[in-house]
């Protein structure tokens, strides 16, 4: 499942991550900057376009006919790990995730690839693409082509097309007051990837991180067939708080998040405490902190992690409070890491209370 991050590196090639300033979804343009950039975009009105850009949805959904809608998404970033095959897997996991977060199934993927052939060996390029393609096959879809260019920095990702029944589409909106927030996977990939770059993770911590980064989000919604999921998104570059904020805004609700219920990747609290905090975490804090009230005093490293930008993070699901036990049982039976981390409440839309319990 996991591979040694440096085993295939030819002696003459630099480390894949050596030239990278911001890793994975930590490389995202911050929410407040993005808002400025998008301010002048033409407004789009089309009855068949089921998503709105203002809700910061994970993907665009377009209704083809009553029973079918097409989902399109694109995601790419610089290397987060030194092993090219693993990097390919992570990038694909991350790109495919948006399809699952919309409640859909992936169909086709096109690779997007920027690669400086002078600096790195061609076999490295081939490994990145193979890792991505294998992961897409694992998801039951296929890489049907792509586009590559020369550039000063490696960038890799995918445009993915998926399908969803319009009535089964899941968005940031739709959560109801009292709904429970269920989160899959553990938090802390941003801090952990920074620590990996600094050679501060032991073998087991690396294994946990790589396993999280390459776990597809295909199972949760499949396993929860029959449960009414009101809203869904995946936790990526804006961090836990950023993505809950988008859900609360789109659902016109407030939310409460319980720190004690959060799962963290091993060692990442300690690492954050020592200053291994990615720039993206500071950017997320700046973008979202005004929407947050801390009910309790929290250690700084805990708040660093709720703003930590996630690469290939888990899903956030809004389900009825009555369904929580069944949801956790079904996810548990499928060996999906999940916890009930909070709830949606009537209140100021977009506001999040962070509490210990």
């Amino acid at each position: 499942m996991t591979t040694n991050p440096q085993k295939d590196r030819p002696e003459d090639s630099p480390r894949l991550t050596s030239n990278v300033k911001a890793a994975g979804c930590a490389a995202k343009i911050s929410a407040h900057e993005l808002k400025q950039i998008l301010a002048g975009m033409p407004k789009i009105y089309d009855a068949n376009l089921l998503t709105s850009i203002t809700n910061f949805e994970d993907a665009a959904v377009y209704k083809l006919h009553e029973d079918q809608a097409v989902i399109q998404t694109v995601d790419f970033f610089p290397p987060v790990v030194d092993d090219p095959y693993l990097f390919g897997q992570v990038a694909a996991t991350n790109a495919l995730s948006d399809i699952y977060a919309m409640g859909g199934t992936p169909l086709l993927a096109l690779a997007i690839f920027c690669f400086p052939t002078c600096d790195y060996s061609l076999s490295m390029a081939a490994e990145i693409l193979r890792g991505g393609a294998d992961q897409v096959v694992k998801a039951g879809a296929m890489v049907a082509g792509g586009h590559s260019i020369q550039g000063s920095e490696i960038l890799y990702g995918m445009a993915v097309t998926g399908l969803v029944h319009p009535k089964k589409m899941l968005t940031n909106g739709g959560a109801k007051p009292g709904d429970a927030i269920i989160m899959t996977k553990a938090l802390g990939t941003g801090v952990s990837l920074l620590a990996l770059k600094a050679d501060l993770l032991d073998h087991e911590e690396q294994a946990r991180l790589f396993s999280s980064l390459t776990t597809l989000n295909n199972r949760p919604i499949l396993v929860l067939n029959g449960i009414d999921i009101h809203a869904c998104t995946d936790v990526t570059g804006f961090g836990l708080i950023g993505h809950i904020h988008e859900m609360t805004k789109a659902s016109k609700l407030a939310a409460r998040v319980s720190i004690n219920k959060l799962r963290f990747l091993p060692a990442c609290l300690e690492l954050a405490k020592e200053g291994l905090v990615p720039a993206g975490s500071y950017a997320n804090r700046k973008s979202f902190e005004s929407n947050v009230s801390y009910i309790n005093d929290l250690p700084l490293e805990v708040t660093d992690l709720i703003y930590d930008p996630q690469t290939a993070g888990g899903l956030l699901l809004a389900v009825r409070a009555d369904d929580v036990d069944e949801v956790l049982r079904k996810l548990g039976e499928d060996r999906i890491e999940a916890s009930h981390i909070g709830q949606f409440l009537e209140g100021i839309p977009g506001h999040i209370d962070v509490t210990i319990h």
Binding site: Y282, T355, I356
Partner: protein, 217 residues
């Protein structure tokens, strides 16, 4: 020994790693690091705090100078480096022994939170405030290691008192709740309090002297 580091132009996590390498050397008494982004400043502050060192920052033109010291500078302008917001991370204190030491101790030696004038109305208000104080501790999950009551403070643990319930909740969530036996006796409450919650001045002193902090409302 004092060290200077120019970390400008380096991206995260390099500045933290290089600084940590230097301060891990006990022979180094202080480090002055030049960095070029606010993020690096904040990460170095986290590093210093995690190592319980003193840290100062200043802007110099378009970059920053972060000074990390083993000792507080004589000017006294260092940032406090005590563990950040300790309240939330104190360990559970169930079954604590006074001699084990540490933690936050809440020491209540009267049945009011501060005091108003001597009128009965003001006394009721001050007593209610104390109740709110205890409820806030309980609801915020701060988990003090122990709550010690002495003098008229022991009235809080009277089963007929409005504060009795919150003290039970705190006890259930792992805080040691103890009342001075001499005082319970004086106020005629000794029979109403379970014997394991009755303590003496010796134990009270041990708790207070071993505590990381003592809070008295």
């Amino acid at each position: 020994m004092k060290k200077e580091l120019d970390l400008r132009g380096l991206s995260c996590p390099e500045p933290v790693l290089r600084t940590k390498k230097i301060i891990d050397d006990q022979a180094v008494s202080s480090v002055e690091a030049l960095v070029d982004s606010e993020i690096n400043v904040q990460n170095l502050e986290r590093l210093a705090r995690s190592q319980k060192l003193f840290v100062k920052k200043e802007s110099v033109g378009d970059h920053f100078r972060v000074s990390i010291d083993r000792q507080a500078s004589p000017s006294g302008h260092d940032h406090q480096t005590a563990p950040h917001k300790a309240g939330a991370n104190s360990a559970a204190a169930s079954g604590a022994e006074a001699t084990r030491g540490g933690g936050t101790i809440v020491f209540i030696a009267k049945d009011t939170f501060g005091h108003g004038s001597d009128s009965e109305k003001d006394h009721d208000f001050s007593h209610n405030l104390l109740n709110v104080f205890l409820q806030t501790i309980e609801q915020s999950g701060l988990k003090p290691r122990a709550i010690l009551m002495a003098n008229s403070g022991v009235k809080l643990i009277d089963p007929n008192s409005s504060t009795y319930k919150v003290l039970c909740d705190l006890k259930d969530s792992g805080t040691t709740v103890l009342a001075c036996g001499l005082c319970l006796d004086y106020y005629g409450l000794k029979d109403k309090v379970p014997v394991e919650q009755v303590t003496n001045m010796f134990a009270i002193c041990e708790y207070l002297f071993a505590a990381d902090q003592v809070l008295s409302p």
